[in-house]
């Protein structure tokens, strides 16, 4: 019975409503996104606007520092010096993604929610450029203010 309640609580948390992120849409800010400096790489972080797990959020860490938040229907980007990248999200467990970033390169990191014991997990994964670019359309920008 107790296990059933735990699973039920998890399901309620995962299916519970969570508001989509607020902010200007990609199409409204795309022209304001600065070109990438030749000495740096760019990482876009995004989370599709899906109801499943909408209430589950997490800070996103890049190489140990918080760069943004995984929220339903949002995206932002970070420019970094080339090198090794470790992305981490944390809810009931920490999930990591490791990849390399070269100068002039742009990579796309998708975060999504999966079942966990209580609150679900936020999983970061790399997607290719075609998928990443297409996914940004319609998402809300939650990064630092653009000029």
């Amino acid at each position: 019975m107790r296990n059933f309640k735990v699973v039920l609580l998890a399901v309620v948390m995962l299916l519970g409503t969570g508001c989509a992120a607020t902010g200007p849409k990609y199409t409204d800010v795309a022209a304001s996104i600065p070109p990438l400096a030749s000495t740096q790489g760019r990482v876009y972080f995004f989370r599709p606007d899906t109801v499943f797990g909408a209430a589950v959020t997490s800070d996103i860490h890049l190489n140990g520092k918080i760069v943004g938040r995984s929220e339903r229907g949002s995206f932002f980007f970070v420019d970094e010096a080339p090198g090794n990248m470790t992305v981490a999200t944390s809810t009931e467990v920490e999930k990591q993604l490791t990849f390399t970033l070269a100068a002039g390169e742009t990579k796309y990191v998708k975060t999504s929610v999966s079942f966990g014991v209580v609150v679900g997990r936020i999983n970061p994964e790399l997607v290719n450029s075609a998928e990443g670019k297409a996914a940004l359309e319609g998402l809300a920008y939650t990064g630092t203010a653009l000029k």
């Binding site: 999930k95 490791t98 390399t100 966990g116 014991v117 970061p124 994964e125 790399l126 997607v127 290719n128």
Partner: protein, 119 residues
Amino acid sequence: MVFFLGLLGCAAEILRSATEFTPAPPGTSHVILLAEDTDVTPSSGYSRTLKTGSRWKLIGQTPQGAVYEVQDDVFMLEGKHMHQAHLVVTAGNRLVGFFLPVERAFVALSPAQSLKLAK
């Protein structure tokens, strides 16, 4: 059972060993093209499919074999965490494992598998 193991977070770290990586000389442009889908399962972690038509560029060498990076796509291994990964291939187009560039580590594929390449 699998469902509950998943809930409990029982995915294991990918078994790997440190290795040496020597980058290919500048100008190296050798690319292989896969002729068919190839399902691979590392000694730990989840299975992956190497896609038909995917292009892999030679980027260096490890003691275990030549290292090829996918082009215009991403390839990752997944265990407890996700890792960008490259193929490690020996003579005869034998896929013997994977190279994790961030961890600078080799992940064995046992048994090794033959890759069918397009001409």
